[in-house]
């Protein structure tokens, strides 16, 4: 077993893992905020639609959701993946990644939505009313008064989710996406040696360590005031 070759392969896999991680967060954080507002909407159909979506997504395994999303084009609309890839102008391989990213982003936005909803609901009515009597618009009240207080409240649970996400990326292997875990598994089979798993674990460990430090920094940053 050639160590530098193995580490090179694992690093490539880690790059894919990182890509999935980043895209999931970039989509799921804002989408989660929008869903959390939808779940609080006064417009009942929207509210129940969003709540239903959140319920379904949180009640089923992420791995199933990944498979489900990949089946939708053909079984839902009778479109072959080959044709869909051609239509989108991407390789079949990238299409797989798109399926995975869609499922991950949807899944995580629902978890974030629940966290944000809890955070928003923990802000006292008095904060909104103080903004109102000062003549602020609804969006000014949300963005200038409420949002920051919510961010402070949700930072800890969001950091938990983010660390879970790092580990969940391994589920992408179900569609054969060559993330860190899938690459490690391949190497273990190829060399009949468990060491690649150990190296992969180190990658996850170090990455999550960096994230923990980052969130610790952010939490200290917003703890300049108490309620």
């Amino acid at each position: 077993m050639n160590l530098s070759l193995v580490l090179g392969e694992l690093t490539k896999g880690f790059g894919k893992t990182l890509l999935l991680f980043a895209i999931t967060l970039i989509v799921a954080l804002p989408l989660g905020l929008i869903l959390s507002l939808g779940a609080r909407s006064k417009f009942k159909p929207l509210k129940y639609l969003v709540k239903g979506l959140i319920w379904v997504v949180r009640s089923t395994p992420l791995m199933l959701q990944v498979l489900f999303v990949s089946f939708v084009p053909f079984y839902g609309f009778g479109i072959l993946n080959k044709d869909l890839a051609g239509f989108l102008g991407v390789e079949i391989y990238s299409l797989t990644f798109i399926f995975i990213a869609v499922a991950f982003a949807l899944n995580y936005s629902c978890y974030f939505a629940e966290i944000f909803r809890g955070g928003i609901e923990s802000i006292s009515k008095g904060q909104y009313e103080a903004g109102k009597v000062l003549g602020m618009t609804k969006s000014q009240i949300f963005f200038k008064i409420i949002l920051f207080q919510v961010i402070k409240k949700v930072l800890a649970p969001v950091s938990n989710e983010v660390i879970t996400l790092v580990k969940d990326t391994a589920l992408a292997s179900v569609l054969g996406f060559e993330d860190l875990f899938t690459v490690a598994k391949g190497l273990v089979n190829q060399y009949v040696n468990l060491a690649p798993f150990l190296y992969a674990a180190l990658f996850y460990l170090v990455f999550n360590g960096v994230l923990s430090l980052l969130f610790g920094y952010l939490e200290r940053k917003v703890s300049y005031y108490k309620e």
Partner: protein, 283 residues
């Protein structure tokens, strides 16, 4: 007609009739205190005046302008509602300061947001007049800098009024309840309301901290501000008010000068109320 004329306010919450035909008038520069036992509808009345609740029936005229009338079918737009709200200020029992902002930012936030709106409008106007981008930006930046300074200066002078100049960069969590309430008063004043309302401004405070807040409110009376104060501090109400109303079960039962209300009460419910609060004070 009085400066502020509230006519026949009715408000239900489901089956609970909270306001049952309330009439209030306040002259310019006058201080009106509202007393009454808890649950009599005092907070609801203040919330209706500040457009936080909509009365089911009634009308309100301020300074000759009809701000609310249940006879008018048309609902106010959000912008109209905000404009109307700005005639009034409201100081809450629980302060409701913005915890993430310093004292001075709490005061300047709303005026600054208003300024930003104004600047956006001004920019559009200049654009319509055909002023070029760079010229526009220079003029707007100049205007913004001047106005921002004015807002800041006004905030500092308000902090002086409430005696908290040295706390301008503190966060609300670093202040005592009494100091928080004084910031809340300054914050409300920064928008130059025509009528400033207080909802039991000292009820959430330790007894030794009520004095500093009441002194600030009293100093505002000397500046001829029009104020409506809901309070349980009878001594203060007697001392600071021009007029007092006594509310009971959603109605105004007695209205008069502090002497009439406190020394010469006529209504039996008011007499009973006064005897219970003075008993409480002795206890």
């Amino acid at each position: 007609m009085a400066y502020l004329q509230i006519t026949d306010f009715y408000k239900d919450f489901g089956d609970v009739k909270v306001l049952k035909g309330v009439n209030v008038q306040v002259e310019k520069g006058e201080v009106l205190s509202i007393i009454g036992s808890s649950g009599s509808g005092k907070t609801t009345l203040l919330r209706c005046i500040n457009f936080l609740e909509t009365p089911d029936k009634g009308s309100m005229v301020l300074d000759g302008q009809e701000l609310f009338s249940s006879d008018i079918e048309k609902k106010d737009t959000d912008a109209e509602l905000r404009e109307k709200r700005l005639n009034f200020g409201l100081v809450f029992q629980s302060f409701n300061l913005f915890p993430q902002y310093t004292v001075v930012k709490n005061i300047t936030l709303a005026p600054t947001l208003q300024l930003n709106d104004k600047i956006r409008q001004k920019n559009l106007e200049l654009k319509k007049q055909g002023v070029k981008f760079f010229e526009r930006r220079t003029r707007i930046n100049e205007y913004k800098a001047i106005k921002k300074q004015e807002i800041e200066k006004e905030a500092l002078s308000l902090l002086e009024t409430v005696g908290l100049t040295d706390k301008k960069d503190a966060y609300p969590c670093e202040l005592s309840g009494g100091q928080c309430q004084r910031v809340a008063i300054a914050r409300a004043l920064a928008l130059k309301p025509k009528v400033l309302c207080f909802d039991e401004p000292t009820s959430a405070l330790d007894p030794e901290l009520t004095g500093e807040v009441l002194r600030v409110i009293k100093s505002l009376k000397n500046q001829d501000r029009t104020m409506i104060i809901v309070t349980h501090e009878m001594g203060f109400a007697k001392n600071v008010s021009d007029k007092v109303v006594f509310m009971s079960e959603g109605e105004i039962v007695e209205y008069g000068t502090p002497e009439q209300i406190f020394t010469n009460p006529k209504n039996p419910t008011l007499k009973h109320f006064l005897s219970t609060v003075s008993n409480k004070e002795e206890a």
